[in-house]
Symmetry: C2
Subunit: 197 residues, 2 copies
């Protein structure tokens, strides 16, 4: 991170890391290129040598998030021989990323980075993470046709994703009263994810 002279050394990587920290700290909107530049001790124009614009930098941060997610999915599948346990563990990985790194998760799913002009470095890892989820659902019931698998994947994913959105958005604050704990709710959500059709 320390500068060695006129040139930074690896400003591109430093920007990505600093942006990731800022995202985790205050959400995607809290990332200011000017701030990052000042933090890293370079001029405000320097970041533009490495990223076309703010979106391009955030896209790179999001891409790392999707790579992480695909990895977590892979581990969940690898360590569980029983497909049902594997799927439950996969769902847990999704919840885990969302609750452990809420800022990153928000960047990945709530921002407009995933438009038609999204770079391949972003769409690639995102597609890989979807494929892993799809495979985990398919393994439960190898007989089912593809449309059924996709329908199950989407409904299950929806339940998980919606739960995350509502919890992270504080929408369940007044409602998760005793004796309804968050942990209990998570188990209920995971149960629902497993229901076929």
């Amino acid at each position: 991170m320390a500068r060695k002279g006129y040139h930074h050394g690896d400003l591109r990587a430093a920007l990505i890391q600093a942006a990731a920290e800022a995202v985790e700290q205050g959400g995607p909107d809290a990332v200011s290129l000017r701030d990052l530049a000042k933090t890293l001790g370079v001029s405000t124009a320097a970041p533009y040598r490495h990223f076309a614009d703010r979106r391009a930098l955030l896209a790179e941060v999001a891409a790392q998030g999707f790579e992480q997610l695909a990895e977590d999915y892979g581990r969940a599948a690898a360590r569980n021989p029983d497909p049902k346990v594997a799927l439950r563990d996969t769902a847990r990985a999704y919840l885990g990323l969302a609750f452990r790194r809420p800022g990153l998760f928000r960047l990945m799913f709530d921002s407009d980075l995933m438009g038609p002009d999204a770079p391949a470095s972003l769409t690639g890892p995102a597609a890989r993470s979807w494929e892993a989820l799809h495979a985990a659902v398919a393994a439960i019931d190898p007989q089912a046709d593809d449309a059924t698998i996709k329908r199950r994947t989407i409904t299950g994913w929806s339940t998980l994703h919606g739960f995350i959105a509502l919890v992270s958005g504080g929408r369940l604050k007044g409602f998760m009263t005793e004796p309804l704990t968050e942990a209990e709710l998570v188990e209920a959500i995971l149960d629902k994810t497993l229901i076929a059709d």
Copy 2:
């Protein structure tokens, strides 16, 4: 909208309406107080006579959205004697608002307006819409205790909400291939919302 002289007439209401249109057009981030002021033919500082800041204006727009939602819920309950049909219709109302007015929906659920310092004009209608949803789920099974009802409400709401988020975010673009249509998916989601536990 036309000015009658030095004073606008009802700038506050005009700002809310113009902001609502801007939200629907380009999402919450597309609302610029300067733009609204110019459109309405007043100075850039005029809006601050009616709203403390940008957030306060957007909160008012969101509040109207929650009022609309609570109303829709009420209609769904009123016109269906069968509680199961009523719940399905309630869920449809949620999806309807989300797909008919995606910008408003995003403002209501994806922005940070609902913090601890949210004005009563926003938290009130939001709580009312939750109560209506809760009641629709409770009507299905009057025997169940409150924790069970809440758990069912939250899981069902999660499924609906997540589906909306994924569709609106374009995350299902490549996956909703034939013969898996969006309409079919909506029915599957509604089915899942009805499943007890």
